[in-house]
């Protein structure tokens, strides 16, 4: 933030980072958003009970952040300043995939990386009873059901929650599991935490001089 505050997400307080599939299996809201304020040296939890919060990105008003709830399949907005301070609103709900990082696009909209897609799955008896799947107890992790992570997808959306565009690597040939993307000087750069490559996609109508940090500070000053 312009005043030096840093908002960051802790995806899960219950599991280690590499144990994210276990957290996903539970999807019960083990994550939180934390604010570090260098002005008074405090670190405080501002939101808790989130389903794998991810992708914090400052919104256009400079008073709120957008964030993804990966296992909640939603994008939300949290106000840390102004009349709506403390409020959370849903921007997009019931996404067909699992959202990861969010970043500003040169046209003022936002890019969103989908880490994987949702697939139809019957609910188990144990889920009905509010318990974790028996799946998790009797089947080794390599055999667990996962979101379809071998699909690459990036969408563009705006603050009204409208999806404006989508880019795909449907079979995940080069870019399965895209977890992060960033627009820079007319290209969209793509990365995945389990991949061995970084992709670059030429954007037809993008501002060729767009550099995210310059824009961000210009709009918030």
């Amino acid at each position: 933030m312009i005043d030096g505050r840093i908002f960051f997400s802790e995806a899960t307080v219950r599991y280690e980072m590499h144990e994210w599939p276990v957290d996903g299996l539970e999807a019960r809201g083990n994550g939180r958003i934390i604010c570090y304020d260098p002005n008074n040296g405090t670190t405080r939890t501002v939101l808790r009970g989130l389903k794998f919060p991810n992708g914090i990105c400052i919104a256009s008003d400079g008073k709120s952040i957008l964030f993804a709830e990966t296992f909640g399949c939603s994008i939300k907005r949290y106000w840390f300043d102004g009349p709506k301070t403390g409020k959370v609103e849903t921007v997009i709900d019931n996404l067909p995939g699992y959202p990861d990082n969010i970043n500003l696009a040169s046209d003022g909209n936002y890019w969103l990386a989908m880490v994987g897609m949702r697939s139809p799955r019957a609910r188990s008896r144990l889920e009905d009873a509010g318990l974790p799947q028996a799946n998790g107890k009797r089947v080794p992790i390599d055999e667990w059901l996962f979101p379809n992570i071998n699909t690459g997808c990036v969408i563009k959306f705006n603050e009204r929650g409208e999806v404006l565009d989508s880019l795909w690597d449907l079979r995940g040939v080069n870019h399965p599991m895209i977890t992060s993307m960033r627009e820079h000087r007319g290209y969209l750069y793509l990365g995945g935490i389990a991949n061995n490559r970084i992709g670059r996609y030429k954007l037809a109508d993008a501002d060729p001089d767009f550099v995210q940090y310059e824009r961000r500070w210009r709009t918030t000053q």
Partner: protein
């Protein structure tokens, strides 16, 4: 009573048939990429079965019978229904099962009208034909509950209504040799016995002339299917899919499975498939995550390609694989002609050819 008590104890203790463990590809089943690297000599829309008279190769593709000469395929005949099994007879004739419910026998592959048409209430899902003793045909009938196309329903309903039938061509009569099998899929005469694949019980059984059964191969990590004789003795056994712990788990979770079957498109069930990776709606498992640009070939197989070479006693000698990272999956038929093995990969709809010399060379390497 004792089997019921044992089954109960096994469920309670999580052992025996109640476990979800799957044997690994080991020993003679050690993986390789021979099937994946095989030469593709034809692509077909709906290939189902292969047959040979020792010289020509016949392919059942949808409702047509095609003959392969070199690399050229010629349509030999066309039916009004889909062919579910095809075999050549020692007297030069050819037999085809239509929609699993009728078997027609022709004096020659191109004969204009059938020599015999056998339709009997006992025929429901005939999925393989093989010449039997004294002018008979051996047929495997996968299920009396489901038509032959709906094999995945039969698996998920834990079907046990498969049969082996002896069809007498002259009298058009049908005589059961075995019944109550967990999906009979493929048979081949082996001396006095008949070897039969029992897919859902992952085994190959021998049925003696007196009807007694014994297991030849048990606890296979795959679902065995059609088998054919090898020229130098023994057999080629295909497996149209491989087992996974997740499918075994779902097969033991009755309420979950019933719900999956009512709520979800069968295309996306947790069940073995002839091909996979077609849509992101398919269930994906942890080990399938493409890491560093690579899918692990030893990940749990939603689909798989396998042909096993058996000796005359049914002992596996070696196997030809197309692994999880490959595409030549769903192999349901394999026949040997003139020093080459032809295999039908139903997943990609490919007819594959592997010279036996090349196979032996690869296996020695």
């Amino acid at each position: 009573m004792m089997p019921a008590l044992k089954a109960f104890a096994d469920r309670f203790l999580g052992r025996g048939d109640a476990t979800i463990t799957v044997p690994s590809f080991d020993g003679a089943l050690k993986p390789n990429q021979i099937l994946e690297k095989a030469e593709t000599i034809g692509q077909f829309a709906a290939p189902e079965d292969l047959a040979t008279d020792g010289k020509a190769l016949y392919i059942a593709d949808g409702s047509a019978v095609l003959r392969l000469d070199g690399t050229v395929t010629t349509e030999v005949r066309r039916f009004d229904r889909t062919i579910s099994a095809l075999c050549c007879l020692p007297d030069g004739g050819i037999a085809a099962a239509l929609d699993g419910r009728e078997v027609q026998v022709f004096a020659t592959p191109s004969a204009s009208s059938p020599r015999a048409a056998i339709s009997d209430p006992a025929l429901n899902a005939v999925n393989a034909l093989s010449p039997g003793p004294q002018g008979t045909l051996i047929a495997t009938d996968g299920s009396t509950a489901r038509p032959y196309r709906q094999w995945v329903y039969d698996l998920m309903e834990r079907g046990r209504s498969g049969k082996v039938l002896s069809l007498d061509i002259a009298s058009r009569s049908v005589r059961p040799i075995a019944s109550g099998l967990s999906f009979a899929f493929g048979a081949c005469a082996a001396g006095e016995d008949v070897f039969v694949s029992e897919s859902w019980r992952h085994r190959l059984i021998a049925i003696a002339a007196d009807g007694s059964q014994r297991a030849i191969l048990d606890n296979l990590p795959v679902y065995p299917s059609r088998l054919s004789p090898a020229a130098s003795g023994g057999f080629w056994l295909t497996a149209f899919a491989a087992r996974t712990q997740l499918v075994e788990f779902v097969l033991r979770e009755n309420a979950y499975r019933r719900r999956m079957m009512t709520e979800i498109d069968p295309e996306y069930w947790i069940a073995p498939k002839l091909k996979s990776g077609q849509s992101f709606l398919e269930p994906m498992q942890g080990a399938h995550i493409k890491t560093m640009g690579v899918v692990k070939p030893w990940a749990p197989p939603r689909s798989y390609g396998l042909v096993i070479r058996l000796d005359a006693n049914g002992v596996p000698l070696y196997a030809l694989h197309s692994r999880v990272d490959g595409v030549n999956h769903g192999v349901a038929a394999a026949v040997e002609i003139d020093g080459s093995l032809f295999a039908l990969a139903k997943g990609p709809g490919r007819l594959l050819r592997m010279p036996l010399g090349m196979i032996e060379q690869e296996l020695r390497a």
